[in-house]
Subunit: 424 residues, 2 copies
């Protein structure tokens, strides 16, 4: 008998019919002999609708109130799911984040989990219940106030509970069959990945793959929680995310390419004519970070002429573009740079795989394929297991297909199923 | 400086525009120098929509899950209201029933308040905040599970908090100007009552007047909480509900007639041919009560002939009709009655006023007015301060108007305002 934590996202519980479908799967798991803990997101667009209502009232809601507002959606979905399970003759109890013991700090809107004390969940399992837990929410340790975990919160709730309960597996149910070698909407011959390491999944998630939240993958890596990403619309095995390759699974020929990720939600800022003296680049990054902006790739051109000036470029989430541009403008006098350039028509393309850095052939093939496809490269960044480039946004899809083909990732036939009624 | 508890019902916060309007009133009260505690219901039809969703999933939801589902609506309205107050430059914090210290038993669906421990509310007031509390909900003392208080729950939350905080007044905001001498939709010349005792309000509420929940009026009576029922759409004084008449206000000539109430949500069951032996009537009421049905008026006809049989009639909420009929059917063999008759086309009309029983002229005028209006009376029941009759439902409105006129309650001009955009 295993202990299974299952997480269902909003598209899996979009309406009451979907809730009933998911209930069948959950009860089936229990009847197969496992203890089942379920983490559920708000139904469909509920959270967006709540955000819209807040927007009708104020542009600057107190974050404490925003958090209690947003947690209403999961209370609805969790109780309806418990009812649907009950209707099938099994027994379920639903729990809020507070009741499930998800203790957080008080950074409303993106609270950090400080501890998991799932005593009530353990008791419910002992009594033969299926435990349903509201995703995305916790309670502040000191005030008893409700907090939300922010983006990817429900995935993180599931992984944190799986760690706290020492579950055998944490299943992340979504509307695709698993993690693919590329986004099937762009690369139709993308293949489902059977297994992948935490590190590779982290790089894919950080590079734009949306199927598992980066934060949840990080949490799983730290606490060694086996993840199984699969579809709530089929019974196929999905993608296993594990600590390392078993013997026999181990890469015989390095490198193993995991897949190609893309991200077109970024923008690029270039600060032109920065005095090339120590500390100037650091000062720019400092004011941008102080404004709460997350930088991604950074490139500084060495000043080739005798002007003593240099250009600094970096990428950032496009929705933080205005904030960053204002922060840089505020220090123009202090730094004495020339101009600021802003470009949100960019895309980021990343190839992720184990042992990549130690295989010089990978880079050659990567850049060769992009050249042959006529893709212009604006920035480059690499890590142990990743190569990323920034291209023009309108060339991004062409680049993803070219790289996918060049590294032999194309499936012989189309594998990715796009399920009816879902967003993709 | 006074401490004011204000309760706003669903029609007062039907949409985000209404939430903003209510926020203005609340901030105005605070700026006038008072401490303000607000109890808020779910917006408009939210609770009905949640009930409908549960109905799509199951006919018999576990009541614990139903309660956590239904409390989502107040979390939404309370946080939006706190945001709207913040937008006006004042400071507000919202609190769930649990956070506000509304401790209940575990009778899900109609939990009873066991204690009120509003420490966080007191602290919020000390810090200069307006405190917004979710109506209708509490927390079970032992399990930390969420409970709902059932029908009239938000009124009860407000009165309980007012008692626990020793507030100077509990204002019940609704979509009419106060308590009227009759329902203005039926008796257009109904007058607003300036003040009334708890006992009279209780009789009016029990007789069908919906403006204040009977249970809240009972709670207010027990803890001497001054109630002020008024409209959230105007600044008029409404109806004060207080312990007793002050000297000077005291009735010079008994009786003081408070008003005419009506109720067309009841049904009548008649059990025909019951053996007229001791204990048989009691047995019928016992099985009906065991089925959870609330009886109201009861009439037993004395057997006038030599048959030794009698007929027993009683009224009950029409939505409990099937349950009661089944319960009686189950004991037909045991009791040996003849037939069961069911009639939901009835109405109940009640006249409420202080000192009524000691004024014989009241009954004479009451029944004379009904006779003159051609109303047929099916059942009669009286209390210290009330006379009620059951009539045909299609004669109920005529009866209300006739009694209202006969007791000189008609206003010289129409007083009741029906506010745009509300249900009445």
């Amino acid at each position: 008998m295993a202990l299974v934590v299952q997480k269902y996202g909003g598209s899996s519980v979009a309406d009451t019919e979907s809730v009933k479908r998911v209930a069948h799967r959950i009860v089936g798991t229990q009847r197969a002999g496992d203890d089942v803990v379920v983490v559920v997101s708000a139904m469909g667009d509920t959270t967006d609708e709540l955000v819209d209502m807040a927007g009708e009232i104020t542009d600057s809601p107190p974050q404490r109130e925003m958090d209690i507002l947003l947690t209403a959606g999961e209370r609805i979905s969790m109780s309806l799911l418990a009812m649907a399970i009950h209707e099938l003759g099994a027994s379920a109890m639903s729990f809020t984040g507070q009741q499930a013991g998800l203790i957080t700090d008080d950074v409303y809107g993106h609270a950090k989990i400080l501890a998991v004390a799932p005593e009530r969940i353990k008791a419910a399992l002992r009594d033969g219940h299926i435990a349903i837990i509201a995703g995305f929410q916790g309670v502040h340790v000191a005030t008893n106030d409700v907090t939300t975990l922010g983006r990817g919160g429900s995935d993180t709730t599931a992984v944190a509970l799986a760690a706290g309960l020492e579950a055998d597996v944490c299943e992340i149910y979504t509307d695709v069959d698993g993690v693919f070698t590329a986004d099937p909407r762009i690369a139709p011959r993308a293949r489902k990945i059977g297994r992948i390491t935490y590190e590779e999944m982290l790089e894919l998630a950080a590079s734009g793959a949306k199927v598992v939240a980066e934060r949840a993958a990080e949490y799983a890596r730290r606490y060694h929680v086996p993840l199984h990403v699969r579809s709530s619309f089929s019974c196929e095995e999905g993608t296993w995310i594990l600590g390392s390759y078993d013997e026999g699974d181990a890469p015989v020929e390095a490198p193993i390419i995991s897949g190609v990720a893309h991200d077109n939600s970024q923008a690029k800022i270039t600060v032109v004519g920065v005095p090339d003296v120590p500390g100037m680049a650091a000062r720019i990054f400092e004011v941008v970070a102080d404004a709460g902006v997350n930088l991604d790739m950074i490139v500084q051109n060495v000043s080739a002429d005798a002007s003593g000036l240099t250009d600094i470029s970096f990428t950032l989430p496009a929705d933080q573009g205005d904030t960053a541009m204002s922060a840089i403008y505020a220090v123009q006098g202090e730094i004495g740079y020339g101009r600021r350039l802003y470009n949100d028509q960019i895309g980021k393309l990343s190839l992720v795989g184990a042992g990549m850095k130690t295989s010089p052939g990978v880079s050659a093939r990567f850049f060769g394929a992009l050249r042959d496809a006529g893709i212009n490269i604006e920035m480059i960044s690499t890590s142990e297991i990743r190569i990323s480039v920034v291209t023009r946004q309108d060339q991004l899809a062409t680049g993803v297909e070219a790289i996918h083909t060049a590294f032999g990732l194309d499936a012989k036939q189309i594998e990715a199923v796009v399920y009816a009624g879902t967003g993709r």
